[in-house]
Symmetry: C2
């Protein structure tokens, strides 16, 4: 949020105290952005002049490659102070990026509790509740009074990611109840926790996929969701700020996969070689598919040279079929993504899409015939009827496949977004072209114009 | 989350007390889903047996058309109790859907404060901070002590959507500071609010678009964001649960617009006629575009009948160009959508995309030439060279347009997602086909095969 001008001025005056004062007044995320945009030398200087507490906060907002770079540029002690103060889930994320040797050295110096928390989080698979949870939460016993509970919360480390819920556990660390800070505040000081806490608990297991965690918290409007292990013991909580990030990440992945971008890792500002490396292998593959679909036309070259208007008509019904298919595909994938539909709705959706498909197919097919009639050479008008029919059929198949394929993927527990737009349109093209050209070829034979 | 079996059993035993007990134990959102899935008659019965507090909560989770239906089926007094107890932002949303007569009657019966709050929210444009904010928040004076502030919070209505932040205002209701419940809890009881509250305020204006509100709260990890009017007076707050919904809504809109679905209103489970009505007019328009692009081929029919392999090659480069263009378009639109890039990055992104485009164009063009050489009839191999060149050019133009068009839309303060995939591919097709066929035509002339 700082403009380039302020940036330059701050360094031009070379008054680091002034820079320090300016940065100290900014929110950590803005300081993080400011530092990320600097050159590596200036970056190390700017980071070193931050106050210790601010430096720790800012560090968590830096992108992994800059975190790694700074860890190389700072003294071991400075690095260690930052890493020790990070929350276990952010630390686990950093450790994923750092070279194994550095991680080992840092882990050895961590306190036993912090080391254990980080090791536990690193033990869960990426993209699960266990990996995005934090192990810092408020845990209470049911026998405490509200006053004792509030005092206990006051005494806990102020850095806990959330204190707005406290979790009540039994002797075996099993999660039994939840109480919000709001409930504590509104209750009599001598009331007992287990009397005011709620048994109506919404919780998740460590192995739940992060998108399901996000959907669950969204559904129940939760600020935090407790995570339990296989023995139902409380091991961590997922907080709402993580949910916001997960939802955006999952939406980006869906949207990019639909367009055939490999998803997740490519940002709009990635360097060009990353873009090429990410997209090219896939593009060559897709081109192969397109060539496969187009080669369905190759055997019909004689037909085309007899009726060249076919070359004009074919892209129209191929594009229209593709567009209709991608619409159905997009609505279905997004519906599955936001949890609005599940595989159990397959029949319901299929019925709807078949009806909608029939209606659309009829309208577009008739439009196609009408337009072709106006626009084809008189001796070629019979082609219009064939084109309209194939078009209607193509639209119908497109809508049905666009709906069924992602549903089938979901049923097979695969990612529905793997059915990308180009994959669907290629299938539609291949089938549509063969049927269309075969019909034309057959009609030519009937009319004794056998090619 | 209730299975169909439970549903049937609950009604089959016809024991409404049992149903009441069962529903009372469920979270409101689950009861809402259960009621939505019932037939209209059963729905009214199930809703009436809910306890009053639960009924109010459940009502806010019902879809607008079912809210409207229930309002018709319930007694005026019941309706009024529910509407009076709703939070002002949810009430405004409901009023948007109801017939004007019903709204007028309900508004007249509301208490002056509730009526004013609802009228204010309804006065802001849809999709702005003013429309999604709630007017229920905790407001403090700086001169209070922490103990007095906590007591004041205890005495406020427990239904306030969030009490985790309190806002400090001056004599003119101007927002001056913010203090979190956490800070209050961790401070000495006799400390003064204006000493512990923070001046580092992040706030928004009533007319800020909702997606920018969501991005702001995401950036600063806020649970609530204060909304001020033009005179900087505090008028409401936006809470994190709204942000989660806004982010999903905006992502769905982007993803649907890219596929050319008109966006927002169409759900995967909409009835077929809604689907047809939503998609058909646009599809006919797109088909018109496709026909326009294809008619670029029409004048070249003689060339095609001379060199029919063109009909095989053209779909390949049209599809490849389209795919590359949609990739660039998707990455740019999503980047703009999540606030990762802004129009000021246009030059940076253009440089990157031109480099990536050149690389991709070179690779794909060469692949195309190689494949065409293997696969064309010997006397048609010269076509391969032309095809490869046009393909490389097409890919380059596709990447550049896919990036620049949405950036230009954003600069013009229009929605970048209005540049949908089909629109881009049609433009690419029209230009690509004309250039390709003109080049082939020219080559034929040079080779004295003038058509």
């Amino acid at each position: 949020m700082l403009t380039q001008d302020v940036r330059n001025t701050l360094f031009d005056v070379a008054d680091l105290n002034q820079l320090k004062t300016a940065l100290n007044r900014l929110p950590e995320v803005d300081v993080g952005e400011f530092i990320s945009d600097l050159s590596p030398e200036r970056r190390a200087i700017a980071f070193r002049i931050l106050q210790k507490d601010q430096a720790i906060g800012v560090f968590e907002y830096l992108p992994p490659e800059i975190q790694e770079e700074l860890i190389g540029a700072l003294h071991d002690t400075q690095v260690f102070q930052i890493v020790e103060a990070m929350s276990p889930d952010d630390r686990a994320e950093l450790f994923d990026e750092l070279p194994a040797g550095v991680v080992k050295r840092l882990l050895q110096r961590l306190s036993a509790a912090e080391r254990q928390a980080t090791a536990m989080i690193l033990g869960y698979a990426e993209g699960t509740a266990g990996r995005v949870m934090t192990t810092e939460f408020v845990q209470l016993r049911g026998g405490l009074t509200v006053e004792e509970a509030l005092n206990k919360i006051r005494l806990t480390d102020q850095d806990k990611e959330t204190i707005y819920y406290a979790y009540v556990t039994d002797d075996n660390h099993k999660l039994v109840q939840v109480v919000s800070l709001r409930q504590l505040l509104f209750s009599l000081p001598n009331a007992l926790i287990h009397d005011i806490a709620s048994d109506r608990l919404i919780k998740t297991r460590t192995d739940m996929p992060q998108e399901e965690v996000a959907q669950l918290m969204k559904r129940y409007d939760l600020l935090a969701l407790p995570v339990v292990d296989r023995e139902d013991r409380l091991v961590g909580i997922v907080t709402i700020d993580d949910v916001v990030d997960i939802l955006e990440e999952e939406a980006t992945e869906d949207i990019q996969k639909l367009a055939g971008v490999s998803g997740g890792d490519e940002a709009a500002l990635s360097p060009p070689w990353i873009t090429i490396r990410k997209r090219l292998p896939w593009l060559v593959g897709v081109m192969g598919l397109y060539i496969g679909a187009a080669s369905a036309i190759a055997p019909f070259q004689k037909v085309i040279s007899l009726v060249p208007v076919l070359a004009v008509i074919m892209p129209i019904f191929s594009n229209t079929g593709g567009t209709v298919g991608i619409q159905a595909l997009t609505v279905t994938i997004r519906g599955l993504g936001v949890g609005e539909v599940t595989p159990k709705d397959t029949l319901k959706i299929l019925r709807k899409e078949i009806l909608a498909g029939l209606g659309t197919a009829l309208c577009l097919g008739l439009t196609m015939i009408a337009l072709s009639l106006i626009w084809a050479a008189p001796q070629e008008r019979w082609v219009a009827l064939v084109a309209g029919t194939v078009m209607a059929m193509n639209v119908f198949v497109a809508v049905t496949l666009g709906t069924l394929l992602p549903m089938a993927m979901k049923r097979l527990k695969l990612d529905p977004a793997l059915i990308s737009g180009p994959l669907l349109t290629t299938m539609l093209d291949a089938v549509g072209f063969i049927i269309f050209l075969s019909l034309i070829s057959f009609s030519l034979k009937v009319m004794h114009l056998n090619p």
